[in-house]
């Protein structure tokens, strides 16, 4: 059987010093692969396991063999094949690992042959990340490099549900380091991000509702260029999805003030990893409101917050009342489909008013709330009309049924009288 192995790899020994050579080529050959035959016979688990694991690796599926990353000559048995003169690298780590992976993954011409859609700036992005900065500037070997997120010998494409970087698995992958208090001890950052994220509305959307557009770690922090969002651009990150609110916020008086105070826009009110589904209780100056952390009831922003809350509450109550009224009429068999159709406009107005809260001015909220209140009022009127009509029909039926019964009784009595 013809075995695809990689042999074009750096036989010219261009590895270290001047950097790695050109990307490897996949060449079909009949020669034996001593890397596999020797390593799978070893009794040391650390050295034997990669052979079995690698059969599931995406690189193996594309025909790349051990030498693509480790160098050496697979056609020569024993330590002679693992000669540095033949380009043998051993286990590449740290900056050498970036070179090994980047040799293919940073070469657009090479990657186009295997995955034309795949980006080729991962190494450049990585160097800009907190991980990459610490590795290159401080020689910090504890930081994540390629194989911490893409486990060596078992790399699968992100679309594979078993992949460590599938959206459902990203948080767990990051937490291997970030939830390990011993590992993170030197960095003085919390280690509860995963615990908090798994309580968030984003994780619920991703894991329970199967919404793979919901964000996980890399959607806010970047993946290869991972870094915490800066105070003045948190809004841009959240605005990738919540664009309407981000636009309102950017034009609001809060935007400049928050930047000046050095507080993160969205996260100040909504939190970061443990973002909860926003509810109206966040607004106003009552219990549970976030406005009251800075604003006092009855003064300036406190007045605006309370007024915005009152408008939203009014609309929600009016919508709820109209909806229940129409439901009662509908269940009783009345035709109210037009009224229910029209009431959809009040729901739209309510959602728009809630988004407009992020402008932090009453007029924006009132504009939508008043529109919704008008729609709800019309629906209430129709609901009352339908229920009034129902009452009228019931009374009419009762009266006519009574009259018919009386008539029947009268007929029976008359028949008896005639018979007697």
């Amino acid at each position: 059987m013809r075995v695809l192995t990689l042999t074009g790899l750096a036989m010219a020994a261009l590895f270290l010093g001047t950097g790695l050579g050109a990307p490897p080529a996949v060449v079909a050959q009949d020669a034996p692969n001593y890397c596999v035959s020797c390593h799978q016979a070893l009794t040391v688990e650390r050295l034997a396991a990669p052979v079995a694991r690698y059969t599931q690796d995406v690189h193996a599926a594309k025909g790349f063999g051990c030498v693509a990353c480790h160098g050496g000559d697979p056609t020569v048995a024993g330590f002679n094949g693992m000669d540095p003169a033949k380009g043998f690298l051993g286990k590449p780590e740290g900056q050498l690992l970036l070179q090994v992976c980047g040799r293919c993954h940073s070469d657009a011409g090479f990657m186009r042959r295997y995955n034309p859609a795949l980006r080729v700036d991962q190494v450049a992005e990585y160097r800009s990340s907190v991980h990459g900065q610490r590795l290159t500037l401080y020689r910090d070997t504890l930081v994540a490099t390629c194989t911490n997120c893409h486990p060596a010998h078992a790399i699968r494409p992100p679309s594979d549900p078993q992949s460590s970087v599938h959206p459902l698995n990203v948080a767990r992958t990051c937490s291997v380091c970030h939830a390990d208090s011993t590992h993170m001890a030197g960095y003085q950052i919390p280690t509860n991000q995963l615990e908090r994220y798994e309580q968030s509305v984003h994780w619920a959307a991703l894991s329970e509702r199967g919404d793979q557009s919901a964000p996980t770690c890399n959607d806010c922090h970047g993946n290869h260029g991972a870094a915490p969002p800066g105070v003045d651009w948190v809004g841009n990150v959240c605005g990738q999805c919540h664009s309407v609110m981000a636009d309102y916020f950017a034009a609001s008086p809060h935007s400049a003030v928050f930047t000046r105070l050095g507080v993160p826009g969205c996260a100040l009110c909504h939190g970061n990893h443990q973002v909860q589904a926003a509810s109206d209780t966040l607004l106003g100056v009552g219990e549970g409101s976030v406005c009251s952390r800075c604003h006092v009831e009855g003064v300036g922003g406190g007045i605006v917050a309370a007024a915005m809350r009152a408008r939203v509450d009014s609309l929600r109550a009016a919508y709820g009342f109209a909806d229940s009224l129409l439901q009662r009429a509908e269940r009783a068999g009345m035709e109210v489909s037009q009224a229910r159709f029209d009431l959809s406009g009040a729901q739209t107005a309510l959602v728009q008013a809630q988004a407009a809260i992020h402008a932090f001015e009453l007029d924006s909220v009132a504009h939508h709330a008043d529109e919704g209140l008008q729609v709800a009022a019309a629906a209430v009127e129709r609901g009352h009309g339908a229920l009034g009509e129902l009452r009228f029909r019931r009374v009419g039926l009762t009266v006519s049924t009574g009259l018919i019964l009386l008539l029947i009784i009268g007929v029976i009595l008359k028949i008896r009288q005639i018979e007697a």
């Binding site: 959307a205 509702r209 919404d211 557009s213 919901a214 999805c241 919540h242 664009s243 309407v244 609110m245 439901q327 509908e330 269940r331 009783a332 068999g333 109210v336 489909s337 037009q338 009224a339 229910r340 159709f341 959809s344 406009g345 729901q347 739209t348 959602v351 728009q352 988004a355 019931r394 039926l397 049924t401």
Partner: protein
């Protein structure tokens, strides 16, 4: 044989019982639907399967959309730039706002949170988690008939 035949009083009782129970059955047959009418079951109106739109093909220009009533819910009819008629539920799958057609983008768009759907109803940008429900459109002369399912 003659000793076993029923007496006249037995026959009368049987006829009275038969007439009495028939009258009871008749009363039940009349009163039951009346009672059911007065106390209807707790169910909502059955889902509308098909509607003939209150406007014609001439009322909706190319590259435009129009909201219509599908039962008690809003639907949207799109006349695509290619001249096809397509209809979808107009209720956004995010927070149930009513979507609209954007002729500048040739997309269906939800103004509440800037969600976009393509002309197959697929959610392509923004927070909507699912596609819009697709309706079947049939054009008969100038009339447009929209129905749920094939």
């Amino acid at each position: 044989m003659g000793n076993d035949s029923p007496t006249p009083s037995t026959r009368r009782r049987f006829v009275n019982w038969l007439l009495g129970t028939s009258a009871g059955g008749l009363a039940a047959a009349v009163l039951y639907p009346v009672t059911r009418y007065l106390l209807p079951p707790e169910v909502t109106e059955s889902a509308t399967a098909s509607v003939t739109l209150p406007f014609t093909v001439n009322d909706i220009p190319l590259n435009s959309g129009k909201i219509f009533k599908f039962g008690s819910l809003p639907g949207i009819l799109v006349h695509t730039p290619q001249g096809e008629f397509r209809a979808f539920s107009a209720t956004c799958t995010h927070l149930a706002c009513i979507v609209q057609y954007r002729d500048d983008l040739s997309h269906i768009w939800c103004a509440c949170h800037n969600g976009h759907f393509d002309l197959n109803g697929r959610n392509i940008i923004g927070p909507p988690p699912k596609p819009l429900e697709v309706f079947t459109v049939r054009v008969s002369g100038e009339q447009i008939i929209v129905s749920r399912g094939a």
